[in-house]
């Protein structure tokens, strides 16, 4: 039985202004628990905007997002923050680690903010996470002592800290070399295989092809949804 982790209904994000701009224009989407979804599309098509909405970082102008069946459109800013803290993990193209903190402290940050575990438990989990991402000996290094790929893996560990339901990643490998890209992608793949839901925006068709599902966005709308086996065809279409 598949369980829906995240569901978007008629999602619209508009920027009001002298000239109103629609970033996301009526998206319906259901993502199952443990599913690995890739979002692709041309630059400016609204991929990031959609991802921010799905991760509750931004509020939709219309429509509803349900996380584990819970509607979120009526939540206050503080309640949305609380949901983000425990249910969503973010990874961005830039690592956004706190520069003064060590890798471990950066990973501990969401756990400490949530305050649900003892300091000992948090450290144990933080070290385990870093270890599982191959960063065991870098736990006490600061971001500026790490390579780009290592930083991004620390950022992934941070996103995983509170065991979120959903991991959203916006071009997490956009600034990485091929080897690091490969590493980060297989980590995300593993996370999904272990039952967490992963939604990742990428420009790389080869990577998108490894997702369970690929959602192609054009002009803020879903242009095409392709299952795993049909990846190749879409690549041809896009090129």
């Amino acid at each position: 039985m598949t369980e829906v982790a995240l569901q978007a209904v008629e999602l619209v994000r508009r920027i009001e202004g002298v000239v109103s701009h629609t970033l996301v224009n009526g998206i319906d989407l259901a993502v199952n628990r443990g599913e690995f979804v890739a979002i692709t599309g041309p630059s400016g098509s609204g991929k990031s905007s959609l991802l921010y909405l799905l991760g509750l970082l931004d509020a939709p102008s219309e429509g509803e997002i349900m996380i584990c069946g819970q509607p979120t459109s009526k939540l206050s800013e503080t309640e949305r923050a609380d949901v983000r803290l425990t249910k969503c993990g973010f990874v961005f193209q830039f690592h956004f680690l706190l520069p003064e903190f060590t890798s471990l402290d950066n990973v501990l940050l969401p756990m400490r903010a949530a305050g649900r575990m003892t300091e000992g438990e948090m450290r144990e989990r933080g070290l385990a996470l870093l270890g599982s991402l191959g960063l065991g000996e870098h736990a006490n290094k600061r971001p500026n002592q790490l390579s780009g790929g290592q930083r991004q893996r620390v950022a992934i560990a941070r996103a995983l800290a509170n065991r979120p339901e959903i991991i959203v990643a916006d071009e997490p490998t956009g600034a990485l070399d091929t080897a690091s890209t490969e590493q980060v992608f297989s980590i995300l793949r593993d996370i999904a295989d272990q039952g967490q839901t992963v939604i990742v925006v990428t420009h790389d068709p080869a990577l998108a092809a490894r997702a369970d599902r690929r959602i192609h966005i054009v002009d803020g709308k879903i242009a095409e949804i392709i299952g795993r086996g049909e990846g190749g065809r879409v690549c041809e279409m896009a090129s």
Partner: protein, 412 residues
Amino acid sequence: MKLLFNIAWTHVSARVRQTLVGMAGVAMGVGFTIMMAGLMQGSQIDFLRQLVDTMPHITVDDERRSVPTQPAEQEYAAVQMADIANVGKRPGIKYPESVMSSLRSWIPGDVAPSVGTSAIIDHGGARIGITLTGIDPRREVQVSKLGSQMREGKLDDLSRAPNGIIVGEALAEKLGVKTGNTVLLVGGQGTRLNSTVAGLFRSGLKRVDESQIYSLAGTAQLMMGQSGVVNQLRLRLNDPMSAQKVAAQVEAQTGYRSVSWQEANADLLSTFTVRDFIVLTVMGAMLLTSSFATYNIISTITHEKRQDIAIMKSLGMREYAVRRIFIIESIIIGVVGILFGWILGYLLCYGWSKITIFNPLTGTTVPLQIYYSAMHYVVAGGISLLCCAGAAYFPARKATRVHPVDIIRGAS
């Protein structure tokens, strides 16, 4: 909270120089404020002490505050009697000894009788209006410090010289008289009395030293033309600050007007109130200004840390928690600054107390009076902390309101 403190600490400890400047700002503000408060209150308390030492704490005289209600007015609402003077009424407090002994039974202090009148002192062509208070030298020591304020002669000398008087030093200088000289006193009824200057005093209050003279009660009664009258009771209290309360009780009990030293000097004390207000305002402004460096630091940090703020918010930290980081930073700066400010303030006060100045009131060179009070430290520290928190709050609020999406879009 520990997390917020940790983050705050990384921010301030990464900016040692700026942080030190901020702390120095707070320290100077607090230090100077404490110094100013100590100096101002020191001089004020010094002055009040002089006032309280010189004046009776409560003076009861034979007047009533308002004309007594007439029996006819009590009976008939329509009857109103204006301008009823105490015509032909013999002045003086009735049965002064029994009033005094009943007061003595409950007031926390002592009471002595005196005779107050006004006169003109005439010497070598100079005629100066003065207040003449007739006292009993033996009882006077219980209600005033006059005995210790004598510059020449003793209180007891009053009874040795014929119609002896004790004159303020300033008045004697004005008149050009010395101890042993004879001056002419002219009373309200035209009584003329040759009296001998038996001694000089200096209270330190110009007003008193220039216009107050003391004599034996008998001499004053002679000047009034009322033998045996006592028209004043003067009280000295163990706690001068309770004078107002006690005066009201005395007045209620005796029916005679009882004036506390505070009431008698209401004009003076009200200038103190104005002065206090000005001082407080200046000190508040000083503390506010001293937190500007802190404002500057926090503004800079919030600006530099826009990305961190965005990411903390996007990870799910609440806005006010993120804001608190910066308030904690300013409090770290504030608390350390305040501690140094306390030390600085104490040293400044100590330094000032070593400086002697010429005091025109007493005509002597005395050390500056500094009032040390824990209250100064607490208040200066408290206000300073509030200013620092305020200085952080506004930039922090502005910075943490930012929508994380805006920053994250801009950065990637």
